[in-house]
Symmetry: C2
Subunit: 429 residues, 2 copies
């Protein structure tokens, strides 16, 4: 970890910069694969799966037999853990349901909003060495609560053409039935364009590497919505003298083990805390299985000493972290000054892992500074809010003349007339 | 208007297709202009303004003198109309404020969301023959309610280098102070990249032609959020025998006068209504100033007779209209079967013009079928919802062991350890 002492404010913006990813350079390969899928559908998808995932499969959809068998292989303790986490995620996302409030804006003019589910959603779950079943909960549970009719899950198969049974089990407990063995650009292409086997969806969710992100960005050109552009995961910890350096070291390492490009930042007004955290990281690193990844990530990460905790929050608002941990007994007193963050962890016992798995909040969050302009995934992400208005006769009499003046000023005579014909009819009676 | 009688269901999808816009073909010119703005900033923006808007200006920002003078030139009646509309828009968008509800997911685990304003927002208002001040209200008022710190408005100047005083007046009443005389790709580029005069923003809002839309799509590659991809405006009217053909004709014409590419659809289970609407359109067209535009739009538009009102809603859900008018005395009984629409107008006196200007709902809505996966602009569009979690000692004791099992199953040992060090500390005491 690089230790930085009291950097001048005009350097904060620069210290907050993440390495730039150039997605434009990937657009050529994405467009090529998309065009291929448009023409050759399943055949193209299977071909790319052989090429990129080295999996010799002939059927993209997970078979019923594979689907049914999954539960047998999961230890009971893990099943119970998934049950607890699912229940908490369900509770919190259910609490995000909004009642529609009717607002009478002028006498006789009633306006309100109602939520409707997005009909078809695609959920992308990355592959790799570990089965990321937690993301299935984070995307599948709110999709179910929202009432999405079709939930299509794509995840790359391993070299044997299989999907880890924990993934299948988790999908089953949520009620996701359509699971496809496909990853990378070809998965996003299939969801955006539709093939014989894989339905075209209205919105695509889920994390992924730079190829997946580039593909999601380009899917938008085909009228598909996406949850958000994804980047490497990040944590920023603000620690004061009441924090516990061992806890903080563990939190920073839990971010660093994600990938070599993970972003890890520690801010404090107390140099002792910074030194003790750095020391504790060294101790904890020794027996970490993903040690090499963590060391690489930590090389680029920074521990910054600032003049006050207030300055730490000022810096954090510029950085706009995906995860913000406030490691302080006074954490709650700072919440109102937080402007930009994906998810906030309050106090010394709120570790990021809690939000990653089981507190109930969503772990699909804006990275790379996008916390300035994007929210994390929530129930809202799976619905549209439709506005409704009922303008009664009394209502149009109240607001009609104003509409006529404004339509005329905008030189839209037919807009005016739509009001005039109604007012005339009312006055005739 | 093309009259279509009982088309078979397998043709509905095709009947719902809008003409395809290929934004990829515009990306070259957009990227060129963006690169130029990146290098030459204001100089480039002024150069494109001379080239495209034929306006010889040397300063991009509206002067204080122009800003102050605007109110003098507006008729009192129009000022009052703007006041009434603003009040209704304010009321409805204020009603969208959400109280944060704290949800205790497990004993000692508290989760909630809080809204924070997006700090810097850009509001694009198209130019052209008419001053579209209503869009300034629709974007500026929720931005103010949300608490956005900087609201940057861009709109192209006329050939004399001026902005219509109604536009300036409307911006003033809302409290928008930063107004720039710039339109088209160069406006979006300046907002996305920042120049000497024009600040870089976090999110860009507002309608525009295909160049503006292409520029907004590409702005996303620079980390800028956008409200939604915009396309030509649309209305779909569902009419039964209780509807008024003269009203419907006026509503269809108010959409058709927007532009030659405006989408206008009438659905009914009653052929008499269809014929009377077509007849009434002919009558009303004669004295319409934007007659030629409306005629061109109507050439591509369709009046479709279906077997029942339920079928009309089924078709409408496939079409996913920006504006849906239910011209029926029974309108309210159908609301629950609406799945996809931007804004819904209920009953014979709820004309689209009402929502365009003054009912209080937002008129920035998803077009081109995007009502399937996007909501219209609302207060939500100007905020991020940050999740917060407070995991107490009791809380981590309750959910900690489950997190440990799941982190282990995902092969993330440091995630597990972040919990373990805390549980150990609690047990030591």
């Amino acid at each position: 970890m690089q230790k930085v002492i009291n950097p001048p404010k005009n350097e904060w913006e620069k210290l907050s910069k993440r390495p730039l990813k150039d997605f434009n350079s990937l657009s050529k390969i994405v467009n090529e694969i998309f065009d291929d899928i448009k023409r050759n559908k399943d055949e193209a998808v299977l071909r790319y799966t052989r090429l990129f995932d080295k999996a010799e499969i002939t059927t993209l959809q997970l078979s019923e037999e594979e689907y049914n068998r999954a539960s047998d292989e999961i230890p009971e303790e893990l099943k119970n853990a998934i049950k607890l986490a699912s229940r908490n995620i369900e509770k919190f996302h259910l609490s995000q349901k909004e009642d529609s409030k009717i607002c009478e804006t002028s006498k006789g003019v009633y306006c309100w909003r109602e939520s409707r589910p997005i009909e078809k959603v695609g959920i992308y779950i990355p592959g790799g060495s570990a089965p990321l079943f937690s993301t299935i909960m984070m995307l599948g549970i709110p999709a179910k609560i929202a009432g999405c009719k079709e939930i299509i899950m794509c995840t790359p198969p391993d070299k044997n053409g299989e999907i880890n049974p924990i993934m299948v089990y988790t999908a089953k407990t949520i009620g996701i039935k359509s699971i496809f063995k496909v990853g990378g650009i070809q998965a996003i292409g299939a969801l955006a364009l539709g093939t014989e086997a894989i339905p075209k969806v209205d919105k695509i969710f889920g994390p992924g590497n730079q190829f997946v992100t580039a593909a999601k960005l380009i899917a938008q050109n085909y009228g598909i919505a996406i949850d958000m552009p994804a980047g490497p995961s990040e944590v920023l910890v603000i620690a004061d003298s009441s924090s516990n350096p061992e806890f903080i070291a563990a939190d920073l390492l839990s971010q660093a083990e994600h990938g070599e490009d993970s972003q890890v930042i520690l801010l404090s007004d107390d140099e002792r805390i910074i030194d003790e955290v750095i020391e504790s990281i060294k101790n904890q690193l020794s027996d970490l299985p993903r040690k090499d990844t963590a060391i690489a990530a930590l090389k680029e990460s920074k521990a910054i000493m600032l003049n006050s905790i207030e300055e730490c929050f000022e810096f954090s608002n510029i950085y706009a972290p995906e995860h913000l941990i406030i490691a302080s007994d006074n954490a709650k007193s700072y919440l109102s000054i937080i402007e930009n963050a994906g998810s906030v962890f309050i106090g010394n016992y709120s570790c990021e892992s809690a939000g990653d798995y089981a507190s109930g909040t969503n772990h699909t969050l804006p990275t790379n500074g996008f916390a300035k302009n994007y929210s994390g995934v929530s129930l809202d992400s799976f619905v549209k809010k439709i506005t409704f208005q009922e303008v009664t006769k009394e209502g149009i009499m109240n607001i009609g003349p104003s509409i006529e003046f404004m339509a005329e000023a905008e030189q839209l005579a037919a807009h005016k007339k739509a009001v005039s014909v109604r007012l005339k009819k009312i006055n005739e009676k």
